[in-house]
Symmetry: C2
Subunit: 211 residues, 2 copies
């Protein structure tokens, strides 16, 4: 929707919608554009090299608007991380959405479903890099995983020390991601997903279900 130009009469008021002032971006669209820009900036440049100003520029808005919707750099990083992790947040549903015997394999397959696709993988790796090189970013990531992922994973794990076991399982997949996609060490980098799932599935199964 284009804002009214100076030479035209003001756009007619639409019922239920506040009048639009010239130049004021449509609020929900602006917020989305800022969040998308934030995700892209953090994914491309990492936490350290991303700024509110850079995000604002990429979104085509004033930096004050970024502050208005999201607050501090850490707060917008948190929002971007939640967006980047959105596909991963479905992991508990995958793990718990089937027979108990298949939980480990489902977890492994689910993670590869996210990582084998560069569109979902690259921003995730960028977030991991940021967490590795910046304490504030690590704290944001930690908080997000605890609130949005870990709780939902463990609530249906009927084993002792479920948080510990969920983290053992997650750590295994994270380590595989590092060798396969980041350090790119062979043969892990090129191994068929099926081969990895065949080895790792039983491991995750034991962690998640066997007391």
């Amino acid at each position: 929707m284009t804002p009214a130009l100076p030479s035209q009469s003001p756009a007619p008021r639409r019922r239920g919608r506040p009048p639009r002032t010239e130049g004021a971006p449509d609020a929900p669209a602006a917020r989305d554009r800022i969040l998308t820009a934030a995700r892209n900036e953090f994914a491309e440049r990492g936490y350290d090299k991303t700024s509110i100003r850079g995000i604002a520029k990429a979104a085509g808005v004033d930096p004050a608007l970024v502050h208005h919707y999201f607050g501090t750099k850490d707060q917008i990083f948190g929002a971007a991380v939640e967006l980047i992790f959105a596909p991963t947040l479905a992991a508990p549903d995958a793990v718990h959405g089937g027979s108990r015997e298949g939980a480990g394999e489902r977890m492994a397959r689910f993670m590869f479903g996210v990582w084998e696709n560069p569109v979902t993988r690259l921003p995730l790796l960028a977030v991991m890099r940021s967490a590795l090189t910046n304490e504030a970013a690590a704290a944001v990531l930690r908080g997000m995983i605890e609130r949005r992922l870990l709780l939902r994973m463990v609530v249906e794990l009927h084993v002792s020390n479920p948080e510990f076991r969920a983290q053992l399982a997650a750590s295994h997949m994270i380590g595989i991601a590092m060798l396969r996609y980041v350090i790119r060490m062979e043969p892990m980098a090129s191994a068929p997903v099926e081969d990895i799932v065949a080895m790792v599935g039983p491991t995750l199964q034991r962690y998640l279900t066997e007391d």
Copy 2:
């Protein structure tokens, strides 16, 4: 040994030792000092922020001497990485130096022996960070691990796909290190090493020995 001062007569020649010119550092000591400085610089600043000039300054030598002994930045990074990984390079001996049944547990305990000590852990994490954020650093690390670690680990693994299995085992430990020491997520961050070894030992055992 202090170099001769201008007002003194030159130091007497010592049999078997080349004459020392004023200001010329004792060669082996200088090389060691440079390597130690390189390790510290890379460990503190990471790959990107470390330079030949910075290393030379920390070692108290001319940058030309750094080039003389080590070559390019990647070559001195490689030498520093080998120094930083020296404790880890004993892993194959630990794994293979005992009964087959204890291999997995020995590997897990050995890794914790290196990581639980901040003196050995911190430079390792710095190298991992560098590899994560810099492609050249990742290539150096990859080459060093392949040449110095992987080969010796697999030569005594009598299973199918020994390199793949060794990397599965290593990836598990790397992922645990990331959760425990870098992202510092609880309960993994504070779990007793014994608890982790109890869960992970059997996993590594299966990867390393069971076909």
